[in-house]
């Protein structure tokens, strides 16, 4: 061999030796006081009112706390920074008695002034922060701003009217109209209390607007100094690499069991699973249905179920005939073999939905709900009764390139539904589009006649399911039903819990009679962990604390 080749090969072999030496070195394993969690992405910003994505909220959940919280694993409202609360007779004034001797992580005392400072901050957000893309939850729950920008809702639309400090440890929130869903919404991490001192010092709302009209935060509150009252506090955040939170030594409640939690962004589902298998992470969320068996079959791993808090449905747009005919909608309901789909494609993690509300939500009707068990003959009879000649052509839309908790594989759901509808007097014309933004654009602008869609609840309140979908006219469903709209508005403004429950039960039944959609599944998403991780309690609304989690090597 020539000298040249010898040199080349020496170099190549040197590389091999490097590899071999690397293989011999054992990687770092997490110490038992540190847990590494695989996130699907980095947070956008660590400032509750300015986000709506799950990865931001997961971190915010650990650092901030709201006036009320949820009992772990449920949607039951429990005291958090407020120890008790009461509504005035008019339902317009809510007084919160606050927990005493609580301090923010920067030493600022938590009191009535802090509560009002937070509410006033949210209500006074500057124009660029007033879009749904930034302050989705404030817009959804409170619906208006003090100084609205062009196109933004103003004080006349706002549920929030003002806040008064009543004594040192008490605050009163004044509403412009009755709403009891407001209390449930306060459990959202988006409305966690931030230190007024830190908000000011680190200029939470300061920023410049560039030539594109985009708001650039110039302060460091949401990136380097998010200060709440929670059991953990931010240690460091390097975007694309890791975000570290450390236990808060001055926390008012039981101290966090682990010293440090590291969130690591791993966007690819398969990569998260493999990182769990190698021990590089100790847990991750949103396990793909096809990976559940792998996790379950491993002696070192386990899955945890998040209670069903979603609904998968077949929507029907009544602005596109013949979907405006209730007989045709009933025919669709009888023509969908929902049980087969749920049994076949949800790996035992789904239950057939007979109404839009998941069973956990207040207002779920236990009786009186019309049932539409698969019955092709009845479907054909209904179509004939409607004056149509089967097969009736329908345009059925389904999304591609997506997996949602309520719809792990939309194309399989579509194929199965399409087959069952074909036997029930329909001729299905398939339409598909990539989920985001094409498919959602088509359905939300009213182009899709029949379509697969679903919803995961934001907070434990029926208004977040029923009012959001059926409380007003929408291009998505294309119907106008003043009676249903009035019932839902009445239910949302009722503050007496029993009356409210009864109203929502009625609404849930009415929706199933009117059939704007055919709900077919409530599914339980899965989390995966190393077997030696303990104390993680999955929440239906993903409000999960790491403070109770421990980990043994």
């Amino acid at each position: 061999m020539s000298k040249f080749l010898r040199v080349s090969f020496v170099l190549a072999i040197a590389a091999l030796v490097t590899v071999a030496a690397a293989l011999g070195a054992v990687g770092h394993k997490a110490a038992s006081d540190t847990l590494v969690f695989g996130a699907a992405s980095d947070p956008v910003i660590i400032d509750g009112p300015l986000v709506s994505d799950g990865e931001s909220l997961r971190v915010i959940d650990q650092i901030f706390e709201g006036l009320v919280g949820l009992k772990p694993g449920t949607t039951v409202i429990v005291p958090k920074l407020a120890v008790s609360w009461s509504a005035s007779k008019s339902g317009l004034a809510w007084t919160f008695k606050l927990r005493q001797n609580v301090k923010f992580q920067d030493g600022t005392p938590f009191n009535g002034q802090a509560v009002c400072a937070n509410f006033d901050r949210w209500y006074s957000f500057p124009g660029p922060l007033q879009t749904d893309a930034v302050t989705y939850y404030w817009n959804t729950v409170f619906g208006g701003f003090k100084h609205p920008a062009q196109g933004s809702p103003g004080p006349d639309k706002s549920l929030y009217k003002g806040c008064k400090v009543v004594g040192k440890y008490s605050a009163r929130i004044i509403l412009s109209r009755r709403s009891s869903s407001f209390l449930g919404a306060l459990a959202l991490t988006n409305f966690g209390m931030a230190s007024p001192t830190a908000l000011k010092k680190y200029q939470a709302d300061a920023g410049t607007v560039d030539s594109d009209g985009v708001f650039h935060p110039t302060g460091t509150f949401g990136t380097k100094n998010p200060i709440g009252t929670g059991p953990y506090m931010l240690k460091s955040w390097k975007v694309g690499d890791k975000l570290e939170i450390d236990a808060n030594p001055t926390y008012w409640g039981p101290k966090a069991k682990l010293k440090r939690i590291i969130f690591r962004a791993i966007p690819d589902n398969a990569a998260r699973l493999q990182a769990l298998q190698t021990g590089e992470i100790q847990g991750y969320d949103l396990v793909a249905p096809q990976d559940i068996a792998t996790v379950k079959n491993s002696s070192k791993l386990k899955t945890l179920d998040r209670p069903a808090f979603n609904v998968g449905y077949v929507g029907m747009n009544q602005s596109i005939p013949p979907m405006n005919n209730i007989l045709v909608r009933q025919a669709v309901a009888y023509g969908l073999d929902r049980k087969s789909v749920v049994d076949s494609f949800y790996a035992g993690r789904g239950q057939v939905a007979d109404q839009f509300l998941p069973p956990l939500v207040v207002g779920f009707a236990k009786k009186g709900v019309p049932q539409y068990t698969y019955n092709p003959a009845k479907s054909i009879a209904l179509l004939k009764q409607a004056g149509l000649t089967p097969p009736v052509k329908i345009d059925f839309w389904y999304p591609t390139s997506v997996s949602r908790p309520y719809m792990p594989d939309p194309s399989r759901n579509f194929q199965a539904f399409s087959a069952s509808l074909s036997k029930a007097g329909f001729e299905v014309v398939p339409h598909s589009a990539p989920w985001r933004p094409d498919y959602l654009g088509a359905t939300q602008s009213g182009k899709a006649q029949v379509f697969l869609l679903g919803w995961t609840g934001d907070f434990g309140d029926p208004a977040n399911f029923l009012n959001v979908h059926f409380g007003a006219k929408s291009d998505l469903f294309g119907f106008d039903n003043p009676k249903l709209f009035a019932l839902l508005t009445q239910a949302d403004s009722e503050t007496d819990i029993e009356k409210r429950t009864a109203l929502y039960q009625q609404a849930s039944i009415d929706v199933m009679k009117f059939l704007p959609v055919v709900p077919y599944v409530h599914s339980k998403p899965a989390l995966a962990f190393q077997k030696n991780v303990r104390g993680y309690v999955p929440s239906p609304v993903s409000l999960e604390s790491f403070a109770t989690v421990s980990y043994s090597n």
């Binding site: 594109d212 690499d241 966007p267 990569a271 493999q274 590089e280 985001r436």
Partner: protein
């Protein structure tokens, strides 16, 4: 040489202008909008109108384009609609990851591809030659993400020898002045961190370097076969030069001309492979960043990212052309 470089640099201007128009029109021709992508199921028509207004997407196309050009020439690519951070900041953070990965992959491809190809040519027609052909074909035809998954499964999941994700162990707290992790470890004297960064590069580099390796090996083999039948090689041998001198001075140097072009082209093409490799290995580089941006219709990131990538691609090619001139004096003279 200087005139050549200046001319090539001047050519960059029309290329970048043309490209900026293409990207601008292309992303706006895609269905859907950033608002739709941002809000998902929660998008309402009113919210979409509001966001389009905020981001100036309701203005005429030429106004949007002029504003884009105006900010770009001032070195500002705008702000990501999704992360709300300046595109230039994200580029600065992510570009080093892609460069590090590409350099590692190319080093792997060159260190193994050239000797393999050269040896196959020297052993023309033997079992080794045929085996290297089959190996190259497998290398070229195996999808990168598939190879990446297999490598990860074997070396990370089953054997536990190498890490499966990221650029560095999350438990290591070391400074990153340049964001080139291997370099950072060396510069700051954190040898453990540098070594750890190298370990994190091995599997992605093997996956990403497989196709260039196969191509380089084939081109080297073909070029060496061509050159070793040239008159000047025969003359050199006839003069009684030792075989290694003939190999290194006459055959290798001349055979490297087409190989250097291929290396340049492959370096540019590595960027497309980097999208998959970075996704599979959760590496925060430009590839996965751009892929996500397209998915989210994040206009400023797509525009800035592609323009920057194109600039890199053109620059790499320019460097290749310059090196071509150095390797081959005939080009330099002409």
């Amino acid at each position: 040489m200087l005139r050549f470089i200046v001319r090539r640099l001047l050519l960059l201007v029309p290329i970048l202008i043309g490209l900026s128009i293409l990207i601008f029109l292309w992303i706006r021709a895609l269905p859907g909008s950033p608002a739709q992508a941002l809000l998902g199921e929660r998008a309402t028509p009113a919210a979409i109108v509001q966001i389009r207004h905020q981001y100036g997407l309701d203005k005429p196309l030429y106004v949007q384009y002029l504003r884009y050009v105006d900010t770009t020439v001032h070195g500002n690519f705008g702000t990501s609609i999704v992360s709300r951070r300046p595109v230039t900041t994200e580029l600065r953070e992510r570009f080093p990851a892609t460069v590090e990965l590409s350099v590692a992959a190319m080093l792997f491809a060159i260190m193994f591809g050239i000797p393999l190809g050269f040896l196959a040519a020297k052993r023309y027609g033997t079992v080794f030659d045929h085996a290297s052909l089959v190996g190259s074909l497998i290398g070229v035809s195996t999808p990168i993400f598939f190879l990446a998954l297999i490598l990860k499964y074997v070396f990370a999941v089953r054997l536990g020898w190498l890490p499966s994700i990221g650029r560095q162990d999350v438990l290591l707290d070391t400074p990153h002045p340049t964001n080139f992790y291997v370099l950072d470890g060396i510069v700051t004297g954190h040898w453990v961190a540098a070594w750890d960064a190298v370990k994190h590069l091995i599997l992605p580099a093997l996956a990403l370097g497989s196709i260039p390796l196969a191509i380089i090996a084939r081109i080297t083999r073909a070029a060496a076969l061509d050159v070793q039948n040239e008159d000047y090689v025969r003359t050199a041998r006839a003069k009684g030069l030792p075989p290694h001198t003939v190999d290194s001075r006459h055959i290798f140097r001349n055979a490297m001309l087409p190989v250097s072009t291929i290396i340049g082209l492959q370096t540019g093409l590595l960027l497309s492979g980097a999208v998959l490799t970075e996704t599979v290995f959760a590496l925060p580089g430009i590839g996965s960043w751009l892929a996500n941006a397209i998915f989210n219709r994040d206009y400023p990131v797509i525009q800035g990212g592609i323009l920057f990538t194109a600039l890199v691609f053109v620059t790499v090619n320019l460097l290749v052309d310059i090196s071509y001139g150095i390797i081959n004096p005939r080009i330099r003279l002409s």
